[in-house]
């Protein structure tokens, strides 16, 4: 929830944000009315992917950066469906 509060305060100040979070905490996106959230199907502590999984980390980041520019209202959520995996 800490990052949720930071996101809300930043947006209030006019600073656009995007949050990347693991699925276990995805309920925060709606519960805290976050502006832009990417939710991954990854295990807690590893929201962008497994150690060394450069390809997956890039995929998640590109989704987040795309959301920064494409979202037009609060509450925009993109859920990525790729399951957690070890680095290929």
């Amino acid at each position: 929830m800490s990052v949720g509060h930071v996101a809300r305060v930043f947006e209030e100040a006019g600073l656009p944000t995007v949050v990347v979070m693991a699925g276990a905490f995805g309920f925060r996106a709606q519960g805290m009315s976050l502006p832009r959230t990417v939710i991954t199907r990854h295990i807690g502590g590893r929201p962008l992917g497994a150690p060394g999984d450069v390809e997956r980390q890039h995929l998640v980041l590109r989704a987040a950066l795309d959301l920064l520019g494409s979202a037009v209202s609060n509450g925009t959520v993109r859920e990525l469906t790729e399951p957690y995996r070890a680095a290929p």
């Binding site: 929830m1 800490s2 990052v3 949720g4 509060h5 930071v6 996101a7 809300r8 305060v9 930043f10 947006e11 209030e12 100040a13 006019g14 600073l15 656009p16 944000t17 995007v18 949050v19 990347v20 979070m21 693991a22 699925g23 276990a24 905490f25 995805g26 309920f27 519960g31 805290m32 009315s33 976050l34 502006p35 990854h42 295990i43 807690g44 502590g45 590893r46 929201p47 962008l48 992917g49 497994a50 150690p51 060394g52 450069v54 980390q57 890039h58 980041l61 590109r62 987040a64 950066l65 920064l68 520019g69 037009v72 209202s73 609060n74 509450g75 399951p83 957690y84 995996r85 070890a86």
Partner: protein, 246 residues
């Protein structure tokens, strides 16, 4: 990430009382700041006895199959699904908002300065925030002090992007840091962002990234620190922020 109130001393006392005839309830709790502490699996204590038993049964059943075919995917999926169920109760906590602010991006990202701020507990070893005045606090030393972290105001660490990787540290009493120790990019993606900057996807990265321990006092964070951080970032010319919880 919400950290439920726990008192390690109370847990230890309870465990001592039950050492000779441990209940399943005590067994579940022992994974969350108890004698079997494992922050990856601390969610077990949030499950009913029936669900916790089903989680463990399923884990062993899938492990047995993986021994034969080496497919780790089913184990990851099992842990993920129960990870989600283990934290579902937090959806009804006090921090609920019906509406929220929204600041549009003013220009294409390829022309923006992007910043990174995480609640993962990363810091530069040469600028250790030294929680509670303790020098070189280890993760093992931080974990039993979870309640002190939760009651304390946050400290924002500034981490130059060119920080030697050998100097980059992570310490956080609320989550399993093993993945982050192996590769900071799992939740502090400085290398991946630098690659996207070189590709031109991002105009510029702010030369410093920022991190704090998300297990912290929420009201001071909300009322005092986050507004200060927003002002500091805007003064430094940031156009947008990537935020990552633990």
């Amino acid at each position: 990430m919400t950290i439920q109130a726990v008192d390690p001393q109370q847990i230890a006392a309870t465990e001592a009382r039950e050492a000779e005839g441990e209940s399943f309830e005590a067994f579940k709790k022992s994974f969350a700041y108890g004698r079997r502490n494992d922050l990856l699996f601390k969610f077990i204590k949030n499950l009913s006895d029936e669900d916790a038993a089903e989680f463990l049964r399923g884990l062993l059943e899938k492990l047995g199959r993986t021994i034969d075919d080496g497919d780790l995917g089913r184990l990851y999926e099992h842990v993920y699904e129960w990870n989600v169920r283990g934290y579902a109760h937090e959806a009804a906590d006090r921090w609920q908002y019906d509406t929220g602010p929204f600041a549009p991006l003013a220009k294409p990202l390829s022309e923006c300065t992007l910043g990174l701020l995480t609640a993962t507990g990363h810091f530069d070893a040469r600028d250790d925030p030294e929680p509670f005045g303790v020098k070189n606090m280890t993760q093992a030393e931080a974990i039993p002090r979870i309640m002190e972290f939760i009651r304390s105001e946050p400290t924002l660490s500034t981490i130059p992007l060119d920080t030697p990787r050998a100097e980059l540290r992570v310490r956080h009493p609320g989550y399993d840091i093993r993945g982050a120790v192996a590769d900071p990019n799992v939740n502090f993606p400085i290398d991946r962002l630098a690659e996207l900057e070189r590709e031109g996807v991002i105009g510029h990265l702010l030369p410093d990234a920022f991190s704090f321990v998300g297990a912290t006092a929420q009201t001071p964070l909300l009322k005092k620190h986050a507004p200060q951080w927003a002002g500091m970032l805007q003064e430094r010319g940031v156009d947008a922020m990537l935020l990552v919880p633990a």
